[in-house]
Structure formats: structure tokens, C-alpha cells
């Protein structure tokens, strides 16, 4: 199960006065089970990019292969693709419409032609996976808190049992606590199920701790593509395009400049603490290998 994007181009409003090249010759390969962060500034083309992966937008040039099949072939089953590549939009809670959370989550699996029982099982499973408290299952989705609405909406996509899950800014508009909870839940999901997950975000801080690979988009092009450590090594260039490396990168670089022997490649707070303590010559019990 892999997605390959082969020289994909996309132009918004192609024949209008304000034609915008949203994707410019994008080549990507996303193998099975990877947790990928797609980072970019507003308008960098990251949302456009992910909407290509389940066929909602059709590239104006190039090809996309899903498991080796060209999704633009005339006989390619687009509906099936959409069930296998689950896309959670930005502010997904805006799509909730049913009378209670549980029926809303059932909407996706029912659309795939599952019978009632199977759909309900899937919905139950999905709600459990996103950590929705049981007592809220039969509440109106409009009465939930922001974070819980979002969980319900994510469950709505998850219930379709996709092989690849794409989340577009899943933490937008949440407070730091809700943000961390959602991200942790996503990571847990990825570890438990081995699902391929694409996480779109504009914040390095958000993804640094969780993903295996980072793709940086800028002006519709892939700017960097690699492991977080490799990408953050370019932190000066990232800054020039309005993105920032995680705060620890700056601190470690500053320490290094002042003569401390720290590893500047640490990307998470935990790793940073470890390398700083190491440089200071004190390695507490908990951090000892």
C-alpha cells in the first residue's frame, strides 16, 4: 500500500484572472506504515496536496499511483480509493450533522455499503480509538466541547477503516492541552495499528515529537523531505520561508555556540534534556541508557 506522486502540478482557477499555481512539480513516495508530517506556511500548497491523495482534486498535470494503479485511469474505482485513504479536513467538526455522535460516526461506514451492525461495530471501534468518553456517544455532537467535537469528527473518518489516514491541521484552534491530547492519540493509533498517517501542520513543534519523516512545502514545491533531524538542520533556511524549527533546536545551537558539547540534532524536549545533562556531566538515573 503506497502512494506515489509523480510530477504533480495543480493550478487553481486555470482560466480565470487569478490563476494560482498551487502545486509545482511535486514528487513524493509514501511507503506503508510511515508517519509523515507535511509542513508548510499558509498557502504553501499542503492542503491542496493532500486533497489529491484521495482524488478530491484532480491534478492539472502528472500522475498519482495508489498501490501501483494510476488513480486517473478511467476505470479506477474512485469511491473505493476514498474509503482506503481517509481524509480529515481542517476543522472537521464543521461537517457533523447527525442527531447524536454515534450516528454521525456511522455515516461513513454506511456510505461504504456496510450493514447496520457492521457499521455500528466500526463506529464503536473508531470512537474508542480516539478516546471519546462512552457517556458522550449519544449526545448531540453540537453540545460537545471543541476538542471532543474534533474527536468525533476524526472518528467519523476512522470508522471507514482506511489504510491511510490524512489529517489536515488536526490541532488548529485547540488549546495546548487539547492539542497535545489529540497528537498523542494519533501517535498511539499509529503505533497500535501500523497505519500510514500523514499529518499536515504549519507548526514544527507539533510534529517534531511524533513523525518519522517531514516534508516541507513552500510555494507549491517540496522544499525538504527527510527525517526530522535532517530537516531541522536547515533551520536557518526554514526561518527564511517563515517556518521555525522547534525551540529546542535554537537552544541547543545557542549552547553549542557558547562552547557546550551538546548534540544539536536532538528534536524532542526529552532528547534535548538528555544531551544538555550529558554535556554538563550529570546523567541522572532516569536518563541513563
Amino acid at each position: 500500500m503506497s502512494i506515489i506522486l509523480d510530477h504533480v502540478n495543480y493550478i487553481y482557477g486555470e482560466d480565470g484572472p487569478l490563476a494560482v499555481k498551487a502545486l509545482d512539480d511535486v514528487c513524493l513516495q509514501i511507503p506503508d506504515g510511515q508517519f509523515v508530517g507535511i509542513i508548510g506556511h499558509t498557502g504553501s500548497g499542503k492542503s491542496t496536496l493532500v486533497q489529491h491523495m484521495n482524488g478530491l482534486l484532480k491534478a492539472t498535470g502528472g500522475h498519482i499511483y495508489f498501490n501501483g494503479e494510476d488513480i486517473y485511469d478511467r476505470d479506477f474505482p474512485m469511491k473505493k480509493l476514498r474509503s482506503r485513504v481517509g481524509l480529515v479536513f481542517q476543522y472537521p467538526e464543521h461537517q457533523l450533522f447527525e442527531v447524536d455522535v454515534f450516528s454521525d460516526v456511522c455515516f461513513g461506514p454506511k456510505n461504504l455499503g456496510m450493514d447496520k451492525k457492521e457499521a455500528e461495530l466500526k463506529a464503536f471501534d473508531a470512537l474508542r480509538k480516539v478516546g471519546m468518553p462512552m457517556e458522550l456517544y449519544y449526545q448531540s455532537p453540537f453540545e460537545l466541547s471543541g476538542g471532543q467535537k474534533r474527536r468525533a469528527a476524526i472518528a467519523g473518518v476512522l470508522a471507514m477503516a482506511p489504510e491511510i489516514l490524512i489529517l489536515d491541521e488536526p490541532t488548529a484552534g485547540l488549546d495546548p492541552k487539547g492539542r497535545e491530547e489529540i497528537l498523542r492519540q494519533i501517535k498511539e493509533l499509529q503505533v497500535q495499528t501500523g497505519m500510514t498517517i500523514l499529518l499536515v501542520s504549519h507548526s514544527m513543534e507539533d510534529v517534531a515529537e511524533y513523525v518519522d519523516r517531514i516534508v516541507v512545502m513552500n510555494k507549491g514545491r517540496v522544499m525538504y523531505d527527510g527525517a526530522p533531524k535532517e530537516v531541522f538542520a536547515h533551520y536557518r533556511e526554514l526561518e527564511e520561508v517563515g517556518l521555525a524549527a522547534p525551540q529546542v533546536t535554537y537552544i541547543l545551537h545557542a549552547l553549542k555556540d557558547r562552547g557546550f558539547d551538546v548534540d544539536v540534532n536532538a528534536t524532542t524536549t526529552g532528547e534535548a534534556v538528555e544531551t544538555v545533562l550529558h554535556a554538563l556531566g550529570r546523567i541522572p538515573e532516569a536518563f541513563r541508557p
Partner: protein
């Protein structure tokens, strides 16, 4: 998909028509529409077509773009033409089964088609070249005399400008929700009419909720900026007639005189 509707949309470019005072454009469009109903012969439509073509040329809006917006009303046009074609009594031309085409029917159908098409092109040209804000400013200023009759002119204009402003926002929102539901396996395109109507529920419920949410936010924002209606409110860019606006008015009057005279000649 929904972005293809150009009716009521603004096309941003630089042209004489774009710079024209909205009051001139509103009056001109109104005059043009009325003129279409005065014609008794095809010469009038010919004059109107020349006038329209000139304005389109001056406006720098690509003809392709205008036609694209017409797609939405093709259906309406077809119904009108069909009914007129078959249901007008008169001298028979062709008769198949119970359907009869008459000379009069043919004539009305063709006139109707031309009239409707030109009417829609003309009025969409106005919205294509005038920003919604300008348009409502123009309307407010033209309706000022109605204030004496206690018509809440400012409020009406404000409502209109908000409504117009929200069209693209709600279209975008619809597009987004539609995509989100398609991603969840919703199907808006196949099935019979009942199925399709039911398929709209997952689209309409979130759309209404979002419209109310936006209305609420906007009301709050207006209140926070101490909005209190039109009394004593001044404009940042008041409308002022200029030389080109006078010239525009003269052109429109000339067009009306020529086209209506030509259109009412007995040929």
C-alpha cells in the same frame, strides 16, 4: 464544481467600465433591461447586441468567463423556449403527434431566448465589473429619496452588502463541506431524486449551522465596533460623479434613444 457559478461574481481587472460610478452602471443596466422589452423587431436586438458587445469589449472581462456563468441558466432558458414553442396558438408550421409549432410560437420562442440571454449577460456584466461594496453604495445613494417615505434605506443597503459578501464565503463553505462528506463516502451525484434530496442533509445541516455561526460572529464584531445604523454615518470613499461618469450617462441615453427608436420601427 460550485465555483463555476459566475452569476453575481466580481471579476477583478482594470477597465473603464470597472471605474465607472456604480450609479451610472445601475441606471444603465436598468435602462438596458427595460429597453429589451420595448423592441418589436429584431433590429432593436441588433442595436442592443452591438451596445452589449462594445461594453463587454471595454470591460476587459473575457467573453469565455461570461459564458461560463450562463451554463447555470441554460435549463431555465430551455424550459421557456420549449413552452413558448409548443404552446402558442397561431398558424401551424409543423405538427407531430399532439405537439404543434406555430409561426407565432417560433417567433416568441426566439425572441424570448434572445431577450433572456441578453438580459442575463447584461446584468451579470454589471456585477462582474462592480465590487459588491460599490454596488450597494450606489443603491443606497439612488434610493435616498425613499427615506422620506420612511424606508430604512441604509439598513436595506447594509443587509444587501452583507448578503452579497456572504455568497462567496458560503459557496466556499459548501465546497468544503461537500468535499469533507465526499471523503466520508457521501454521494451527491447518483440516485433518483429522493435519494439525492436525502443526500443533501449532510451538506445542508452543517451549512446552516455555519451560516448562523458566521452571522453571530459578524453581529458581535459589528457591535464591538459600535455600529449603530446609518444615522450620522459617513463614508471613507463617498461616491462622486466625474467626467467619465457624465460621458457614460450620455452614452447610455444615446443607446436608449437609438435602440428603442430602431426597435419600434415597423419593418
Amino acid at each position: 464544481m460550485l465555483r463555476d457559478i459566475t452569476l453575481g461574481q466580481y471579476y477583478q481587472t482594470e477597465s473603464v467600465i470597472h471605474r465607472l460610478d456604480p450609479r451610472v452602471k445601475l441606471g444603465g443596466t436598468l435602462g438596458y433591461i427595460i429597453s429589451l422589452f420595448f423592441f418589436r423587431n429584431f433590429l432593436g436586438y441588433g442595436v442592443a447586441a452591438v451596445f452589449l458587445a462594445t461594453v463587454i469589449g471595454l470591460s476587459h472581462v473575457p467573453f469565455r468567463f461570461i459564458v461560463k456563468g450562463m451554463k447555470a441558466i441554460v435549463f431555465l432558458l430551455l424550459i421557456t423556449v420549449t413552452f413558448n414553442l409548443f404552446l402558442t396558438p397561431g398558424t401551424e408550421v409543423v405538427s407531430v403527434w399532439r405537439l404543434t409549432i406555430t409561426v407565432e410560437g417560433l417567433r416568441t420562442a426566439v425572441t424570448m431566448a434572445i431577450r433572456l440571454t441578453m438580459l442575463i449577460i447584461g446584468s451579470s456584466l454589471m456585477t462582474l465589473t462592480t465590487t459588491p461594496n460599490n454596488l450597494t453604495d450606489g443603491m443606497e445613494s439612488m434610493m435616498k429619496p425613499l427615506k422620506a417615505l420612511r424606508v430604512p434605506v441604509h439598513e436595506v443597503a447594509m443587509i444587501m452588502s452583507i448578503a452579497l459578501r456572504f455568497i462567496p464565503i458560503l459557496l466556499e463553505e459548501t465546497d468544503k463541506i461537500m468535499k469533507a462528506q465526499i471523503a466520508r463516502g457521501a454521494d451527491f451525484e447518483t440516485g433518483n431524486i429522493v435519494r439525492r434530496a436525502r443526500a443533501l442533509v449532510p451538506l445542508l445541516v452543517p451549512l446552516f449551522i455555519s451560516a448562523f455561526r458566521r452571522a453571530n460572529d459578524l453581529a458581535m464584531a459589528m457591535e464591538a465596533r459600535c455600529y449603530r445604523g446609518g444615522e450620522g454615518r459617513t463614508k471613507m470613499k463617498p461616491l462622486v460623479y466625474q467626467r467619465r461618469d457624465r460621458l457614460g450617462q450620455i452614452c447610455i441615453l444615446a443607446y436608449l434613444a437609438i435602440s428603442i427608436t430602431a426597435g419600434r420601427l415597423r419593418l
